[in-house]
Symmetry: C2
Subunit: 367 residues, 2 copies
Amino acid sequence: MNEPRYASAGVSYELLDAAKKLAAAQALETTGLLRRRGGSGIDASRGEPAFVFELGDRALALVLECLGTKSVIARQYLDAGGPDRFENIGYDAVAAIVNDLCCVGALPLVVNAYFATGSSGWQHDPSGRYSSLVTGWRRACEAAGAAWGGGETSSLRGIVFPDEIDIAGAAVGEVPPGRAPILGQDLAPGDEIVLISSAGLHANGASLARALAAELPDGYLTRLPGGRQYGDALLDPTVIYVPLAELLLERGVPVTYLSHITGHGLRKVMRAKRELTYRIHSLPPVPEVLAFMVERTGMSPHEAYGTFNMGAGFAVFCGAGGGRQVIDAASEAGLTAIIAGSVEAGARRVIIEPLAITYETDELQLS
Amino acid sequence: MNEPRYASAGVSYELLDAAKKLAAAQALETTGLLRRRGGSGIDASRGEPAFVFELGDRALALVLECLGTKSVIARQYLDAGGPDRFENIGYDAVAAIVNDLCCVGALPLVVNAYFATGSSGWQHDPSGRYSSLVTGWRRACEAAGAAWGGGETSSLRGIVFPDEIDIAGAAVGEVPPGRAPILGQDLAPGDEIVLISSAGLHANGASLARALAAELPDGYLTRLPGGRQYGDALLDPTVIYVPLAELLLERGVPVTYLSHITGHGLRKVMRAKRELTYRIHSLPPVPEVLAFMVERTGMSPHEAYGTFNMGAGFAVFCGAGGGRQVIDAASEAGLTAIIAGSVEAGARRVIIEPLAITYETDELQLS
């Protein structure tokens, strides 16, 4: 794995992933405890974006997800004289949570919020950013069709920097009755890969975006070629893919896997724990802000597509011939989709033909 | 409300609580969304420690809770030459989560972890603290009878201080079939109040504990009268009250309310949104470390009992005559309990007779 720029921005996925393994080993020992309460854990969901368990004849899923450092961009952009974009930050956080949840075929029921600030005063900033944040959280819950149950608002002086906020959340969802959770078990050679449009940065790559802002003479106020400010474009809200997942499940589209393209970029196409090759022959348009970042940082295509979503925020895998239905459903959900490639027998890797990039299995270590 | 010392330690509950109200108002608008997925939210659970919702004939609850700043104590104690106590920190975090969940009468099924560090290297500290942390998390899940589903490990450079970790988690639980969630609706004059023993600081009051450590010449290595080090005693793991709650539910003890005594100390006795007076005639022994903190900071009894658990980590309210059963169940769960008082008709307040303290309703603003 070669991510010099990303590593220099302070994130080491290799180290994180080792830690995740340590936690995963401990977690695995506890699956059996669910039986005592009449449930049953599905260990095949470990390593997937949400943990799935059965309770009677229902399959439920629990996810806990963090926004990462995107809130710092919103704070810095506001400090630089930009408008308050914390509504989008609230929306982003919920999107990060529910997009993960729907990957296992579960639709969100309840979402809880976690807002940890470095000072009690964060919420009372005259910019109104806290009001914006909770408004965005509520709007995203509406977009995902989930209730906002509650959550935790903490002041963590000495842990969180005084002017910052750590945003995370949890969601519980249900796999629609009569459907099995989607854990990659049905992925097979010949499946089509459909890539769904993203809105830009989404929630991953924020550290790199901040590092670049620090290098630009006008920082977040730098104009992109099309005229928008860099900070403004970075803060476009993440697409919520739940309505698409819901349509696919309702219509019985033969979906074999769903992957939320976040950290690790298009390496996430091979997220399923299967020995299969994913060959991409077509790529979606790259959002302007991502193209700008790639150009200004001098990232190679290998690095760029292995870090950002590059215009593909979600991948749907389905049996041959199902791709057309995915595109239609995406269109109804207001999204653009393309049949981008197919699954083949072979070693676990992603091949992006138009760019002559190959990501090998050891370039994606999640858990 | 008069909390000069606590406020000077950087925590303003009054400000936090206003922010919670803002979020709660937005959350309330979303309850109806659950119907679309076949569920039904119970708004009476808003303001209670966990959000309760129905799905078919099941009642489920979701909670998201944060450990607060207790991890800083463990880090500072380790830095000061004390032993690694991060196993207790992991245990504390799960305890904070599941103790809240069981207050609504739900028993935990799955717990997810949230570990946000200020640097990718946190997990690789040679002290082995990360291994200790996840071991404690697993042990606490075992004590609570819940599976550890997964979670999120993030590096939040620029949000979290480099040497610190923000620890939180979420749990989903179920109200045992045939039982109603416990939301205070059955609380009535004449009910008995049983206070259950705590193990010491638990997860609340960490800011004040740190502030005191900074004032002591030997800091966390200061000896308490009984000989233990201050830091060591502070880090005694929180009691998990789930096995007690489970026994009470199994046996059909006429429980009318459960309150996890955390922030706000014994003011939490009046947590239920009911116009009732709670008269306490007996108090449990005060753990040595809390007595030490109260003495050294010069807190008044009003301040101390309104901030710390003072030896009572959990309160069980039950119909007259049920207190004896609670004491027996607590004993089987390895805990000490006392019938401490009773519920009366009257204004919402807590009266602690032995100390001539009264907490009025406006001294507890949670949501």
